[in-house]
Symmetry: C2
Subunit: 283 residues, 2 copies
């Protein structure tokens, strides 16, 4: 146990002081049962085994063919069970980041707002806006098995009456229209550049005239080496998706420009959050 704990100190998960071991701050945030971002059980299943681990078992082939070596489209196969587990595993982190995002967007609570939450997962990004603004209506799109988790979270948050679901594939689902906001939280990196273009082209006409797309994801520097979670995420995406990638700010801006958006702005979510926010304006 001492050998294991020393090794975990080397990785930064633990700290050692006078022959006793302590959780490092970041470990405590996610691994202490009393933390509101405790993720251990589901996260171990998602990150330490299952589909992601299978993808990494065939990493050499993935590098050779330039995309996942998993059957069909890896985790992008229709209704892949990975995403329901992923939604449960990431919910505690999502919930904390969602509050930051809702604060950043600062919708006045006296004004109705229609929100399209694309590939909503656990749903917390839309739910946080609904909690902040009693006139907000959320339309959440994802696979049916994932929406079960999102709806349960909306119910727990007391906003389920204003929480509507759009079940099915992101490219064939009917989004509807006149959205003030379309959320893309950690979804574009799962897609190749061509599918990103297709998706943005589909989103734009579903927005109101002054509608915005809000992208939340890891957005690395142009050299893609910083922040350090960028290269790790890119490797995971290579292992499990056909064409997923971690897009730089420059690449995202170009995508939105090509899709007809007139203006983008980049925002941070907070000093301890490694993801960034890109807001793209329809007009």
């Amino acid at each position: 146990m001492r050998v294991l704990c020393d090794y975990l100190c080397l990785t930064g998960l633990l700290q050692k002081r006078s022959d006793r071991y302590w959780l490092a701050d970041e470990s405590a945030l996610y691994l202490d049962r009393h933390s509101n971002q405790f993720i251990a059980n589901d996260a171990i299943e998602v990150y330490g085994g299952g589909t992601l681990a299978e993808g990494f078992e065939h990493l050499v082939k993935a590098v050779r063919i330039g995309g996942t070596a998993l059957p069909q489209a890896g985790t992008l196969a229709p209704e892949h069970p990975y995403w329901a587990k992923f939604a449960r595993a990431l919910a505690p982190i999502g919930s904390a980041n969602a509050k930051l995002l809702a604060n950043l967007l600062e919708y006045p609570s006296s004004q109705p707002v229609r929100v399209l939450d694309i590939a909503c997962g656990h749903g917390h990004y839309g739910i946080a806006i609904a909690k902040q603004n009693p006139l907000a209506e959320i339309f959440a799109q994802d696979w049916p098995g994932v929406l079960e988790t999102a709806v349960a979270n909306a119910r727990d948050a007391g906003v389920v009456e204003r929480y509507h679901t759009i079940a099915g594939d992101v490219f064939s689902a009917e989004f509807g229209e006149r959205y003030d906001l379309a959320l893309l939280a950690n979804f574009l990196p799962d897609l190749g550049p061509g599918d990103c273009d297709r998706l943005l082209a589909k989103i734009r006409p579903s927005l109101a005239a002054d509608g915005r797309v809000v992208v939340l994801q890891c957005i690395p520097e142009d050299d893609r080496l910083l922040p350090p979670n960028g290269p790790s995420l890119a490797l995971s995406l290579l292992a499990q998706t056909p064409q997923g990638d971690v897009y730089t700010h420059r690449e995202l801006v170009e995508m939105f420009k090509q899709a007809g958006f007139v203006r983008t702005e980049m925002r941070g979510l907070g000093p301890s959050v490694r993801q960034h926010v890109l807001i793209a304006h329809r007009h």
Copy 2:
């Protein structure tokens, strides 16, 4: 390939400059075919698969029982084939470090010296002394399959006439006597504390009156966290040996004291070498 290379930059194996990738200095030392310390082929076999990987597959059990979960004694089983591969894989690194060690020991070349090289592996530590001193006689102990590599290396170095072998288990082999020097290069960490004590007790009477034991290995600080290869090595030893460990300077000094050695001194092998040298004097 770009995704893989970015990830290798994150790990420090590669560096990226203006969208081109380069081997980091330490990677080039071991992975460039033109480097005299090129280890890639055999090292991948030893470190990336085989017995070590098997041991890590059962790491949870190893942590629970406090030693390898591999059958028998893991890599310490008699004539385990791991060591012959290991000797070939580590030879390039051993050869470079052996020159540094021979220089550090500074035996006058006009004086006969009898060297016992215990668990000699590739044999380079003894061989370097033989090359430096034409009157040196080397007695190399290890499993028969490992000694084949050591003898071949001695032949390549032109010292095979002064290279004698002692084949078999370290605890039952007849060492002989009147050695000026007993080398223990990266061997004590494979043994538990009890076996270290047994081995030092066996070595002492085989030394000449002014004989010395020269230990070369990773010797971490008292907290065992530095240098960073310490915790990694300790975890590997847990995975593949029954009781192996990375001993601190304090622990080694106590072992030699218990075995009747009168004095120890600690030396460095060079700024780029993460191993240290402990010299223990019989009298």
